[in-house]
Symmetry: C2
Subunit: 431 residues, 2 copies
Amino acid sequence: MHFDPAEALSREEIASLQTARLRETIERAARSPFYARVLAEAGVGPDDIKSPQDIRRLPLTTKQHLRASYPYGLVTVPIADLVRLHASSGTTGSPTAVFYTERDIRTWASLMARCMHMAGVRREDVFQNMSGYGLFTGGLGIHYGAEALGCLTIPAGAGNSRRQVKLIRDFSVSVVHIIPSYALHFADFLQSEGISPASLPIRIALIGAEPHTEETRRRIEGLYGCRAFNSYGLSEMNGPGVAFECTEQQGMHLWEDAFIAEILDPNTFEPVPDGELGELVLTTLTREGMPVIRYRTRDLTRFIPGQCACGRAHRRIDRIAGRTDDMLIIKGVNIYPMQVEQILMGMPEVGSNYLIELTRDGHMDQFTVKVEITEDFFVEDMRALNALRGRIVTKLRDELLITPRVELVQHGSLPVTEGKAQRVSDLRPKD
Amino acid sequence: MHFDPAEALSREEIASLQTARLRETIERAARSPFYARVLAEAGVGPDDIKSPQDIRRLPLTTKQHLRASYPYGLVTVPIADLVRLHASSGTTGSPTAVFYTERDIRTWASLMARCMHMAGVRREDVFQNMSGYGLFTGGLGIHYGAEALGCLTIPAGAGNSRRQVKLIRDFSVSVVHIIPSYALHFADFLQSEGISPASLPIRIALIGAEPHTEETRRRIEGLYGCRAFNSYGLSEMNGPGVAFECTEQQGMHLWEDAFIAEILDPNTFEPVPDGELGELVLTTLTREGMPVIRYRTRDLTRFIPGQCACGRAHRRIDRIAGRTDDMLIIKGVNIYPMQVEQILMGMPEVGSNYLIELTRDGHMDQFTVKVEITEDFFVEDMRALNALRGRIVTKLRDELLITPRVELVQHGSLPVTEGKAQRVSDLRPKD
């Protein structure tokens, strides 16, 4: 039933494994220039760890630390022992890089295969990876996982919708990995070609790499007649394969044999109670080439209390509610773009694309939401459109506590990206 | 000294291994619908093979056969046992697909690692793969090879020159995989940024995926101050890793433990004598999921007679001289674009880009070669330019036996692709 026996660990087994592996991780991390210094300053060593809770004695690591240590500051092995590098784009400014030994690549592939298997993917499936390859960990990460699971893997890469649909049909593709905004765009493309998305043989969609709402997931499932599973990961923790939904679809199991997860108040850095939103902080437990301790992911989520019906004891995190650094402050109110998406994607008249535009009028922030309307609904009846706009304004105001300006636009008129969607356009002058 | 003991096989050992593996291949191939029929019609079975020469009793396989058998006609195992698919673009028309089992992926990676090791790449090297990933076998093929060899592998992908150079510098990249036309373009880019290509830490460039001349190779070596090694492969035979240059740089060793190579007259299909040009015909000996027998590659090359100074007994093929189907017939004369490149790249005044343009004037073919001139040479002295043009016309006429029109154009004025270079623009009306 499980791909990996680690899926069946009890809470007690997880705790003792985490304790042992955290000690190893501290010992290993101390071989890197960065952690040698940081751990010495903190005065914490492996012997100070008696339980996973003792992780709180260790200092936090931030993106800034990774940037300042670029390129090799967190690496614990000779360069000759590394076999892979992934990096943030880094054309300008300060890039970050992550490194993997051969064992790290195998561990990562195995974690990813475990995720896919948990969602119901089997070696008999034909899997199309509709995600870009290269330095982005989402592409090669899921590719290696699918091969480790034994799926017939089609490395289609991103974009080229016409070729994607041909491959899906010719090879009876049953599982895809697709960015949620592209899944919606691809459905539009199919419909414009007279193809019903539900007519494709896809039974499972793995969606991740950008935050999205439950409403977006249900919409993707409805369009393709498939089940869509939420995926979570970040390059600093390998890439995808950190947490994944089981078939219950009630949150993502975070693999606690491979990571220690904390959810902290982003101001006090104290743990928040289970069920409350905070910043996810992660520690690698099995990484060899570049262990990372208490990394501030900037991702906002919560632990889902209680036991999952699937029986796995690995704790679940909720879908990402936003990022600590993509919070918008509009007229003094804190707003996350995900709140807007949640409202819009729950309305059947709303199409697959929208854009939040921020401008400043004198000293006043203007908050405009441009919303694409489905072709069926885009009629010339001004009264119906005005009524719809009114409903959207009301729903957004109730959720956000401020009143946005809403513009309804024709299907296909907002810019589309085939990578991660750009949902916010901040045109306010920089102070 | 060798990465794989198979590199040290003697001619006798190769012959006996080929005989045994050819028998296995025939037996395995007969499990596919296509070869079940073809081998039954030919009346040939494993027991008819007593030596590698008996391969001539088997029928040839062409690209047309692969197209007609799309998608699964040559597959010998259940789909559940396949883990990878690569395909030609196939947006329109008839695509082709190749399939790999898990063992096939491992064998391919090992062949590719053997090639890189033979060219002097070691696990201590930092390797940047500047080739596109996805369905193109050149990307993932070399990627897996580099990881199997144990290099720190940077999956940079194609394009984005600014990011490529940052990665090369930041991580002291010592080995790159790069398409030869992009290597020339990238050098232009570097120079335009005030960076000397020779100042980069690259010591080895693996170049392939498009035919190129010895002159182009020497030019790349001169620009980067590195050694450039020619790579040969095609998707139907896995992808890259079929043949590769050793440090002698006197032709590419074709791995005869994994492939049987024939060079045939493309009209009579009789073997040509060693040293003479013909069409390369290849048979897989170790492929499990999709064995291919006597595949007409359309690539023109010759066996290089004699023993290589490196001591490896695997026969060498010469760099690809062109393709049977890219031969141009101009004014009744057979011309290969490589002949033009060879002349141009041997002249220091000529830049990195050129274009062959074919037009028709009434019933007469017009054959124009547009040639970019290096910035140093592009002076306002009309007399010097005319003299250079005259020299180019003479050299091309001596090689091609017809007189082309030559236009000298300014550096950077011809179109550039970051994928395979388009060297021929055939504007003649279709008959």
